[in-house]
């Protein structure tokens, strides 16, 4: 297979510095304030996205500290019931909708093009729009919270409590509309990632040579496509119930309170796998690098990911075991909830085998990943306990579930995410995070986490329900609650340490070369941080770990233009070159469209007519966004090479 076309005017020389400068000019962000809002380079958007989601993580963490402050002692009076209900709703909504899934997509939008040898994501303007929409939705929610209009019906907003009669005012409407913002953003990012992964891989990177992290993001993105619409439907029905008086959730008029639960959890259960599967990709990448060998069982790992994704859609009723659904039906979901442990177990065994048969480089990223084997495994096992209908009738809606969910979410997602940050920070910024601070960060986090959340298992068994703003002293729950609050404070200290590490490193951290960890995947073949166009020459891939395996001919693609944002589109399964495509230039219109969409969404909280008059600016902005530039089209046609 030859990929350098003799009909092209020039061949790109890998060491051509003029070519590198042209590449930089073509792909970099425009300058100035307007340029800042017009930027669409995937790494720029991704860094903003990561920072924004981490800001929401910190805000959600502060809310958690408020919760623990109030619950540290019985009959405490630090926060009253109304504020407490808003605080725990905001904590859950922030962490689930504004942090956990978006941060995974944010990291993916940085890493995926680099790992597959592409110069960009597909649909870069859509990617920018998704970021702006997400940010504006988050700002809207927090603005509402600051105005005492924060939602207070829980992050899951069960009807009829969240319905028009029992949640008067606009609090729940802000929550429901936040869902629209974030799910729109999530769907768009999923579309971007799927297209990128399937069509922009470097030649030779067939599907069975793709890094496991990229597989994880592909699987996650497909799950997003199927899961998000359910919650958008549910929240839209809730909005219309509240705004115009429909009866979707009104049992007296033919609706059903359980309809909400079904729709929400049909999304809600896959949602936690959306949060869990990308970190499985992180772990594969980190384990391979720090065990100095490829991960054991590549096909089994992929099958495990795909199986988990399918099974995840068949579990949702396990959130509804306390309702009066038929018992036989519930048992089916018990079986499904148990079965989904098998693919995850296979992955864990493969990683342990990789570690055991490799040679260990004990660095901070690996430490965070090792915490997964302790924390997530415990969370998964308590999940198996909750999968049983009978046990769940005792444990549901108690602090046992709070413990379980934090064990799986922090152990399964946040710890690997921190590991990923330590691992890829040198690639993002060109500097290595300090190892010693990293270890302190890790141990404080690990110990603080277990001190905070392990006692909650016991509290749940001792009868303490969830979502309570206080509890009587004579119940005997005070001591363990105090311990949990101290653990939460320790977690806060560890996160502060992380921020300090980041700040210090950005100022005067050790410089990292392109590949400080000796890793095997393509992102480590470019400079740290990567040039604006990622790859001066598109590599040709011959194995799963291109940097570890000997290079074979051909080694790279020549003939790509450095004057225009040109990417090489390849076929889906075998990544054979298909055609070259020009991606659009930076533009302010994604930002303005997001602004117009925000006006439409926020307006429709107050009046249904906003959908009509709000569509006009959105239509105008979208039209300007897509209007092609004549000069660009002419140049493209001129440079086209017919097959």
């Amino acid at each position: 297979m030859t990929v350098s076309d003799p009909r092209h005017a020039q061949y790109a020389d890998p060491a051509d510095s003029a070519g590198a400068a042209a590449l930089e000019r073509t792909w970099r962000d425009p300058p100035g304030i307007v340029g800042w809002f017009s930027a669409i380079n995937h790494k720029t958007i991704s860094k903003r996205f990561m920072v924004t989601t981490m800001v929401f993580f910190l805000l959600g963490g502060v809310l958690a500290l408020l919760i623990r402050l109030q619950l540290a002692q019985p009959n405490a009076d630090i926060i009253g019931p109304d504020m407490y209900n808003q605080v725990f709703t905001m904590h859950g909504s922030t962490m689930m909708f504004l942090f956990a899934v978006p941060v995974m997509q944010a990291v993916a939008t940085y890493l995926v093009p680099l790992m597959i040898g592409a110069r960009s994501l597909a649909f870069p303007r859509l990617n920018a729009y998704a970021y702006w929409i997400f940010t504006m939705g988050g700002i809207m929610l927090y603005a509402a919270f600051l105005l005492n209009a924060g939602p207070d019906a829980g992050w899951f907003a069960y009807v009829p409590l969240s319905g028009p009669q029992y949640s008067p005012g606009k609090r729940v409407d802000f929550w429901a509309q936040m869902i629209t913002f974030t799910e729109l953003s999530g769907l768009m990012e999923a579309i971007v990632l799927i297209t990128t992964i399937l069509k922009l891989r470097a030649p030779g990177m067939s599907l069975n040579r793709m890094p496991l992290y990229v597989w994880a993001m592909l699987v996650t993105s497909f799950m997003v496509l199927f899961a998000m619409p359910a919650v958008m439907l549910a929240s839209t029905a809730l909005i219309t119930d509240r705004l115009v008086g429909t009866h979707f959730y009104n049992p007296a008029e033919g609706g059903d309170a359980l309809l909400w639960q079904h729709l929400f959890w049909f999304f809600g259960h896959p949602e936690v796998y959306l949060i869990f599967i990308p970190p499985l990709g992180f772990i594969s990448a980190i384990v391979a690098t720090f065990a100095r060998r490829p991960v054991v069982g590549y096909p089994a790992m992929i099958l495990a990911l795909v199986t988990t994704a399918f099974l995840a859609f068949g579990l949702w009723v396990h959130h509804m075991f306390a309702t009066n659904l038929p018992e036989l039906g519930k048992t089916f979901f018990t079986a499904a909830s148990l079965v989904i442990a098998v693919p995850s177990a296979v992955q864990i065994f493969c990683w342990i085998a990789t570690l055991g048969s490799g040679r260990i480089n004990f660095k901070t990223p690996l430490l965070f990943v090792l915490a997964f084997f302790f924390i997530l495994v415990m969370g998964g096992l308590t999940g198996l306990m909750l999968a049983s209908v009978s046990l769940d009738t005792q444990l549901h809606d108690s602090f046992f579930v709070v413990a379980h969910l934090h064990y799986v979410l922090l152990g399964g997602a946040v710890f690997p995410l921190f590991g990923a940050f330590y691992y890829w920070f040198p690639k993002f910024t060109g500097r290595l995070l300090d190892e010693r601070l990293g270890r302190w960060n890790f141990w404080l986090f690990f110990i603080g986490f277990n001190v905070a959340f392990f006692p909650m298992h016991v509290l749940g068994l001792w009868g303490m329900p969830r979502r309570v703003y206080t509890y009587p002293a004579e119940m005997g729950w005070g001591d363990l609650n105090l311990v949990a609050s101290l653990g939460a404070a320790t977690i806060a200290v560890s996160v502060l340490l992380f921020l300090f590490n980041v700040a210090r490193t950005l100022r005067h951290g050790a410089m990292a070369g392109p590949d400080p960890w000796g890793a095997g995947t393509l992102e480590w073949s470019v400079a740290s941080p990567p040039p604006a166009g990622n790859f001066e020459v598109i590599p040709v891939v011959h194995g799963r770990y291109p940097l570890w395996q000997p290079q074979a001919e051909p080694t790279h693609v020549t003939g790509m233009s450095n004057e225009w944002r040109e990417v090489l589109v390849t076929t889906v399964a075998d990544a054979e070159p298909d055609h070259r495509m020009w991606l659009p230039m930076p533009s302010i219109w994604p930002f303005l469209s997001a602004l117009a969409t925000t006006v439409l969404f926020v307006g429709s909280i107050f009046t249904p007519w906003a959908i009509v008059w709000g569509s006009v600016p959105v239509g105008i902005a979208a039209t300007w966004w897509f209007w092609p530039k004549r000069s660009v089209v002419q140049e493209r046609v001129r440079t086209e090479v017919p097959p």
Binding site: L146, A149, G169
Partner: protein
């Protein structure tokens, strides 16, 4: 950056009146006379609950609980006059409606002052005004979780007042 923080603090302090949850009821204006309830001296002109969605929704609860719909139905009127139209025999302002509920009116409206606390009467006043579309739609209640008799209060508009038809329908004009 600093501007954002300042704005956030201002916003937090300002709060949003519409979204306030239970307000502690003020002590009855007249002090201790009969059991908890005001004497005729009261009648504030303003209803402090007209901007509070939670209070209006509480008013809706009392409307059902105290059987106002026994005579007024869901606002369409039955034995008692309709409350959702623009015809107010004794005044449409909050103070008049308060007096109507608390002290009763001729032709059958009982006096509730001895039975319903002052604070709840004010909440009822706010709700009654919402029945005729007088409150903004973001504060008036939306549909209830029971069988609906008509449009939710938030979707009602104020009725336009039409000229009175002749009282003797057969009369030639």
């Amino acid at each position: 950056m600093r501007t954002i923080v300042v704005l956030a603090c201002v916003a937090a302090l300002a709060g949003c009146e519409r979204e306030q949850r239970p307000k502690h009821a003020p002590p009855p204006a007249s002090g201790l006379t009969g059991p908890s309830y005001p004497t005729r001296a009261v009648a504030q002109a303003e209803n402090r609950y007209e901007e509070n969605a939670w209070a209006v929704s509480q008013g809706k609860t009392w409307y059902r609980a105290y059987n106002c719909n026994g005579c007024h139905a869901q606002g369409g009127g039955d034995i008692g006059p309709a409350l959702m139209d623009a015809k107010w025999r004794y005044g449409a302002d909050p103070a008049s409606i308060y007096a109507t509920i608390a002290y009763g009116r001729p032709n059958g409206m009982p006096a509730f002052a001895g039975r319903v606390p002052e604070d709840q009467i004010w909440q009822l006043v706010a709700y009654v005004r919402s029945l005729s579309g007088q409150l903004p739609s973001s504060i008036a209640p939306s549909r209830n979780d029971s069988i609906s008799a008509g449009k939710p209060e938030a979707r009602r508009s104020k009725e336009k007042v039409r000229p009175e038809p002749p009282s003797n329908p057969g009369e030639l004009r």
